[in-house]
Symmetry: D3
Subunit: 287 residues, 6 copies
């Protein structure tokens, strides 16, 4: 008799590490969330709820079963010590990058991106970042805290420098953030279809893709801490992701799903489907 | 004094059986639901929550009060014996068809459609099926079970044969289902507006219309067991329904509302409104 | 040490009464709600949840911090005595109007509009009303009750007379309401973009703007008592609001948010954002 | 074929009016609820959820199937007009009393008791009231409103006079209520076991029993608008009810269940079980 | 770097199969649940939520870390085919028993017990059953279905014969069940402290212990499909479990937790703690 | 006209600072919560929901209206920087103590106690702590974090030294915590009635009282992050609080209410009532 082994991996991500060009891991932490916490539950909820999703995408006509993806599970991160948590994330991403693989991280709050970007910048000093989000996340500090979900892109900018961060879907920020953004980062307000226009600027460069799922409209994705009316649709997001595939993507993340805020489960289902499409797009690219 | 009689019928469906060309009934069962059960509560929730809905549709400029519709209430179906439940549904639909009336069934899970289709095929051996759904439901079995929500259209196909099932709005299935579909059924992916194009093929034939409400986008209809991002809107669904009205509709159902999954009540309200528009479209047709 | 003072005002509305051209207040009552009550919690929920919202609007490129708005807090209204509650609302609106300021009221159920309109009509006998809603609210009575959320626009019409009420987004009502509406009020069904077309009729006249938030699609705004599929989007609503700004707006309200019906918080967040855009549009107008 | 008839009656209460010594009816109104409304849904929720309950009580060794009880369904009461709603309740109770039957009313908020007591006092001018509740409900007015859940026992006292009201389980009230209570009504604080001690005073007199279910501890019965820690248990409540059975009970009610406040359904299940035990105790008495 | 391996085992149950005298497994099925389904989610919810629980019990002064327990994970059971699911459960229990180990099964609905009892009876033909439950579960059939949560103890009785089943805490059943029980099984109503009294009858015999968690009061354990007021407390249940430990326990289960029915998570936490105490009691016995 | 001023103070706590011997404040932070966050919402939820509670206690026959208590509102604490948050709490408590007043703090997670205790120890170097809790909170670190809800009493012990901390109601901890506790702190397991026995040891000494509300049974208080079955009742907790009143209480707190985890609102209502009884006990003491 073969024992079921209590192993929970994301949909079809059952390959071994060594054979996989993509390595998934979870970063379940939300200590700096200022409104409604809950993103710490995202990666485990996604592994549980993906049972409702097929491995096959009729949109891309590809099947996760045809590709090798490793799911490394969730990091065990401390609560209340952001610096320590970021160090653990950085170490994990660094290891994956060192092995020539592509890390795909599931948040957690958006601050986790900083850990992965630190590792990516070390491996790729000319790193560019494509950022899908409702919020600019460009504050210098929030209530005196510098390591925060609200400052994460500012911290990333300190690593990449001007002209390397491309934001899409942004529809919230304080006036100062938008002022500062000019000259430092490229921002498309409200929409996300400007991705095609920046491809030339990104061609050949190493690109980290960070997707704050609240770029989606709260009507389609209510399970997030700071919902902002007026977002994009599932098809618009997947279209934007697929548009990026000619680029040299070196790392990705999907953040800010907060399962407890959406008792209907629709948001977790959406996150799973976006992840499937992202993975299939990445896999197709490699072919 | 006139006693209130504890009688709960769907909105405006208060005619007697003999005088009604349409007979509504509920089939509240969800034993084979593999993810999140709850559709067993759909028909009773619809009867309760319809108090927020008017009998008049400004869209169709018709009023349910002007037509005769009988609400036969819910079947008392056993849990854990799908064959027995299907037999009871088949008997109910058969009786209504035998009396020259049109059965409109409220699920329950999608498997209930099989019972009604069995009766319809007996009365109309050349039956065609129009199928609105997010999922293809064309598996041959699910974990060894042949009577399942996931196999229901395959079981129906066994009754109708090739070329008789027309699917719209499909955006989920395993690769094998899509492969199999070719040559057996007609499938429109993602969209539902292909209905007009198949009217010629269906003209004059008896048509059973099965509406899995998860064809709607989960943003508008979160209360369903396996939400699939990227669905259609209320107006698109009603437009598709109305487009079918020139056909010879002999039976209908509305399935997969799961009220407990949507505490806001928006999904039940949507189901009620779709049912109202469906009934008014059917009634208008008869005029 | 400066004590925090337990003062909860809406986002950026921290000016004193005397210096503010706009005065906000809450009317938290829902005694006549016939389906699912809960709007009594709207104004306090909006003051709590606005912490997730910025004072700056990238859409209008304006910031609430640049304007003077007074938040007078919530009226303490009795439950079970609509006449008394309306009198208190009327007194409050009258006071604000007498001081040459613009009242912006947060409901509560839609009946509260009647109190504010009574005051506005006294100050502006030629008052016109622009009404965004899913429901016509033109019944003469509901179960014998004349002061009801379902009759509020009929009561308002008794004050303004024919040709003074302009409804948009309406998609529900009984047949009698739609019949009566002809010749008495102007109604745009389903859509809201007809606002521009009526500007000439309203030019120069005092206009009261009442926004029943259920004009929005329930997919984007599930937290309301009687959700009606097929509504407008956030951008469509804000566009309509901004289109009205050349007019002489003398009073506004935002009603029918019911926070307990939407555990995700998305509806309250939407209401806060609509209020921010409304306030910024009004402030910009004054400039 | 026998059509299911959409008739929802409470557990085993399927007799006709004429043959039944007990007549059940619902009074689903909560217009004066000052905190969290929802009791309007109680009677219909109880009819839906009683399917989980047996007709047989191992505690009393009696079965509802052995008795004749008529369920008259819910009154259709207006919202926003307490006087009109009370008149309809009074008329219903009066009719039942005139026919020599015992009315058992399901609230709704506690104010509904006043309608039934008005009818009972007309039939039994020397009426006494036994009152189980967490709250004294003896205020003269609440925010200027005299017909309120918070004043209902004061209004009842105006009908019965001093020494006729016996309260048990009370653990909340303002100081003035407790002061006033002395000399006017009999009150047992916190506990409910004092029922036995007052039997001699009530012997032979017509007794109306009103049970505000919040007399139960919120741990066992969370689904109520104003939960008060420190209440009684199910067995204590049933014991108190059974202790009263030697008395001449002429009317009863069960109020203040608010199903939406308890998503677990435990409170509705509790209310159903208390109602079953109450009905069986009343029926046993008649034997 | 050591990869986290996505392995979810119950609290401290991390031993290998061969070294463990106890083997845990989940049987996540609820197809015959007649009221509110959801127990299918119990075993996975318990593995997720146990993170809030310590391995050490101050009550028993024992620590799960000191013992070897194997968690075999969840069976993948089909929905809609009870016979097939029971066969899979029986096979799993049989394997564990054949290896001389003690199976501890986590439901699922109560029907799963039948699978394990079938295996246990094969190994121990003189099997006795100790049954903690609110419901007698002694029906012969429910709506024509013989394999049902409501008939499970009757089916077990068919395997064990008279005088071998000892029920405690029972407070619900139809009259016929209680009549039948006399002469066939031993039943303690309402309470559970009669366990000590039956120890002599059970001494030396193989005993299967089945714990339907709804034996607990719904105040402490609301997350179950058919809550019955008047149950026992945590300490009473643990005391009863510990009282049984001198016996020859050959199998155990814990059933009827339904996590979706209790959004507070208290019921899952209770189930985890009962399981910890059960495992520690069993382990202590072996010492 | 007097404007309502949007001031939310706790029930009856409307005195000015200077005239009040007691000063209330909120510390809404939960950054180190390792399971389910949400206590950040406790103090504001308590201020909102207290409207259902009377100022008068029939238990103590005292009324909050007769006493002077100042509610200083909530501190604005950063998320993700525990050291900074604790410093702000300490400063606030220090100021209140310096003015000769008694601070009563509303958490927030239990870590906030450390800030207040630091201030109290500075003012009263011989401080003793009475600690009501389900959890020992005596770990030295949790996943490398030393400032954590799980270590708070260990940190406090570092300030007070051996023999100064008295724990009651404890029913959870790892084995190491219980071992360490011996010789360092006094612990009563499971129960709370040992308070009377330690009064002699505490007589005349300055005492800080910290109440983790999860000392209550989760049946009565489900709204907390780590519920532990087997807790105390409301009356037992209030009795223990009142027993302490002869002592020299110099500071108090009430922590770990997590309103989002209990949608019924019963837990917040319980917390409000415990706070009322605590305040009335403290006020009575002063008389």
């Amino acid at each position: 008799m073969k024992w079921s082994k209590n192993v929970y991996t994301f949909l079809g991500c059952e390959a071994e590490y060594d054979e996989s060009p993509i390595a998934l891991f979870g970063a379940p932490v939300d200590s700096t969330t200022s409104m409604r916490p809950g993103t710490r539950f995202a990666s485990s909820a996604m592994r549980s709820d993906m049972v409702g999703l097929e491995t096959y995408s009729p949109l891309q006509e590809r099947d996760l079963c045809d590709y090798k993806i490793f799911d490394a599970g969730d990091l065990e991160l401390p609560f209340g010590d952001s610096a320590a948590a970021l160090a653990m994330i950085e170490e994990r991403a660094d290891r994956i990058l060192s092995d020539g693989k592509l890390p795909v991280m599931l948040g957690g709050e958006h601050l986790v991106t900083l850990g992965a970007v630190r590792a990516a910048v070390r491996h790729h000093p000319d790193l560019c970042i494509v950022h899908f989000d409702a919020h600019a996340d460009l504050r210098d500090e929030l209530m005196g805290v510098h390591l925060s979900h609200a400052t994460v892109m500012r911290r990333c900018w300190e690593l990449t420098g001007d002209g390397r961060i491309f934001q899409f879907g942004i529809r919230s920020g304080d006036r100062e953030e938008f002022r500062w953004a000019k000259g430092h980062v490229t921002t498309q307000l409200h929409k996300i279809d400007g991705v095609a226009a920046v491809l030339p600027q990104l061609a050949g460069k190493p690109v980290y893709l960070t997707i704050d799922l609240d770029v989606l409209d709260p009507g389609f994705f209510p399970g997030t801490g700071t919902p902002e009316a007026g977002g994009v649709s599932f098809y618009e997001l997947v279209e934007a992701i697929r548009t990026l595939m000619p680029l040299r993507i070196v790392g990705c993340d999907l953040v800010e799903l907060s399962p407890p805020l959406d008792p209907s489960g629709v948001s977790t289902a959406m996150a799973c489907k976006v992840l499937r499409e992202l993975l299939l797009a990445l896999c197709g690219r490699e072919a």
